[in-house]
Symmetry: C3
Subunit: 312 residues, 3 copies
């Protein structure tokens, strides 16, 4: 779990993934030659900006894993605006850096008075100095591990990233696509998907991301295969995936949600007929510094991806 | 109206159109050879999934007709989540099927108590047994016909589909495109539109769908030509269509709405410069089991499509 | 400022840009031959509808400027629906034209009583006669100029258009793209962006539009470079732009907003990896007939575009 801890502590809010992309690239260059099937590494800023694509063998299926996280951006004065949809509990520890140096501050609520004397509340920070507008802040990482669980900020989606990198070790045929901007409106999947389709003819996708525990998807009971969230993928594709999971005996839970979304939504809107399905472990305390995932669900998630990349 | 009745009773909520696609395909293969201009039938799951494209002669205009309907999906316990935007009156009859067999149940509201004892209400169903999560349910069809009206669930958009199939009988030049997923966020029009543009160079579209009656679009007064809904098509294209309707003497009503949407919205967002306009009969009791359309408006709709496909 | 005044008075709400497009085309044809580098003019209704593209030299960067404005459309009876997001103060003067002739009317609120006797309020107009449904209305233009400011309806975005046309006079390398529909959901940037990328390989964009003054972006203090609005562009690209502004000594202000959007959002969703950044003067009284911009900010905006098109 050392790698996972490093990934969780790496700041990469939407729009600022470049550092993490470089970290993953270095990791792949170091470890890839020892994998069962060393992949072709596509890192082309002109075509793919800060995304990364790994191509293994003769791919039939692409795994989409987003690199970015939620966070906050300094506005004016002591104000903050969210990046994506973070929970906003007063006192959360935030970190960042501007031209004056490192920042370790605290999430606060600032009250401002308008011309009529009316008070409005807004997100803010408490720190010993003013931080430059436009500076991004992310949760300070407190990585906690027990025999059965891991807990940290940004398991969504550094755990998806970790699973993808573990999957890479034994993968024979498939594509791993590392996307940007997912937490804040997306925008990289359209060109990633186009690139993958045009270069490799692949139209099957799995969304390797983390979902939330619910009354129907319980922590420790297995990775979720999502029948739907706010978007509805084709039933026939989800059913194929369920049957493969059943046949392989990998524990899983079927998710049925009304809300939420993922990179799958952008595949659904693409002008190529992608099939997609969200497959990922459930977590508790979503979008807080205390995201919690059971190790059994991580094992199930990795096993399921290994089966699906082989069989789909 | 026997065909329309069959279409209205055919379950095909968003994401599960495959059965209806096959039905339409069989219908076209049976009847198409006797049409004035037998069409080229494009059914290519790799490129178009469960959509269908019929190409007649030298097409200049494409008619987009969505196959899917609204409905519900079983969540966990006795809960339901909507597919698209159905009305949700307690007591509506719903039908479906899971591994245990046929389902005929009733729409209900379930109350759940959270940890603090607070009650929340959610959509649910009443049935003699639990239904498998992920199962979709649709309105039970009660098709009613008078001398002047038809009434049923899913006139939106099986009536659009019916009009398209009637139009097909005498069509010389044009494309009929049967789309999926319209009721729940869309997603098939982008690849349909790209296919049609790339293969046939067509950039003119009509959206063959059903709208709602209002104080300005009254039942029985003619098919609506929509100046706008939440999206605004180019004025010049809508005006061309109005002039053709006027010249042909086909009764129509001009719709001007702030809300609502159709497959046209996805054409507007495409990276090809499509012109599009919604042309469809108005109905009462939208998205209920009791959608009601006047036969005079169906006749006007079909006549208008015949004129437009000839003249545009 | 005579040109700006003419542009502000030209009616061109979303969907009805054709007249303004022709005006700009005529302007370019008249003045373009005298510019430092006469551009290639692309006006191709089949491919670009009512948009316009000017290509100068060997372009590396495209400037997107929207032609359309907010406004209102007549619904039924005396009702209006908005085009885009106009402010709606009772008494605003509106102008338009239908088959019966010119219209000069007043924005009103109409009250309607439903079957149960409940009153609802809706947008409406007061005029001596009924106006045809589907007719669009725009703010009557009252152009006001002082030594330091200009004030009018539709500085958003006729001022952006004016800056683009001034920029054209000395531009050596770059693309000016005039878009449609921005105020009401967009829709032209996808095909504009595709055309520009496919024909010229350009993937760098600047959004030449007007933003709002705020506690962090003050009138008269310089053009805004936007770090973000509801969409977040890549940090690396925004930082390049800031450094170029700093190096050139052009006054600017960094904008950090949670809400709002521009043509940049559509570039972010494109299936080509565009970099984009919003660069534009701030205004007060946004989306009213009284939009106010300081001349110092206009000068800063033009100077900044001249630097960026040379250096990016």
């Amino acid at each position: 779990m050392h790698l996972l801890k490093t990934l969780c502590a790496f700041p990469a809010p939407s729009g600022e993934e470049a550092g993490l992309t470089q970290f993953v690239l270095d990791y792949v260059r170091e470890h890839g030659p020892g994998w069962r099937q060393p992949p072709l590494v596509v890192h082309d800023e002109n075509r793919l900006q800060d995304c990364l694509v790994l191509v293994f063998g003769q791919p039939r299926t692409a795994v989409f894993t987003h690199l970015d996280s939620i966070g906050f951006m300094v506005r004016y004065g002591r104000g903050l605006v969210p990046i994506g949809g973070p929970e906003t509990e007063i006192g959360y520890q935030l970190v960042g850096e501007d031209a004056q140096g490192k920042i370790a501050c605290t999430l606060a609520v600032t009250k401002t008075e308008d011309e009529d004397g009316d008070e409005t509340e807004a997100l803010g920070y408490e720190f010993s100095r003013a931080v430059a507008p436009g500076t991004s802040l992310t949760f300070a990482c407190d990585f906690r591990e027990t025999d059965t669980t891991v807990q940290s900020c940004y398991l969504d989606n550094r755990l998806g990233l970790w699973v993808a990198l573990k999957l890479a070790e034994t993968l024979e045929h498939g594509i791993l696509a590392f996307s940007c901007g997912e937490e804040h409106g997306g925008g990289s999947v359209p060109y990633l998907a186009r690139f993958i389709y045009e270069q490799y003819g692949v139209r099957q996708a799995l969304i390797c991301d983390i979902t939330w525990a619910s009354e129907g998807v319980r922590p420790g009971q297995g990775c979720a295969i999502s029948r739907r969230d706010s978007a509805i993928p084709r039933r026939s594709y989800v059913e194929r995936i369920r049957r493969l999971a059943e046949a392989a005996g990998v524990p899983y839970q079927l998710e049925v949600e009304e809300h939420g979304g993922s990179d799958g939504r952008e595949l659904q809107r693409a002008d190529v007929a992608w099939d997609w399905c969200f497959v990922g472990a459930p977590e508790e305390n979503v979008h807080t510094p205390h995201e919690l995932v059971h190790k059994a669900d991580i094992a199930s998630m990795l096993a399921l991806y290994q089966v699906l990349l082989r069989e789909l």
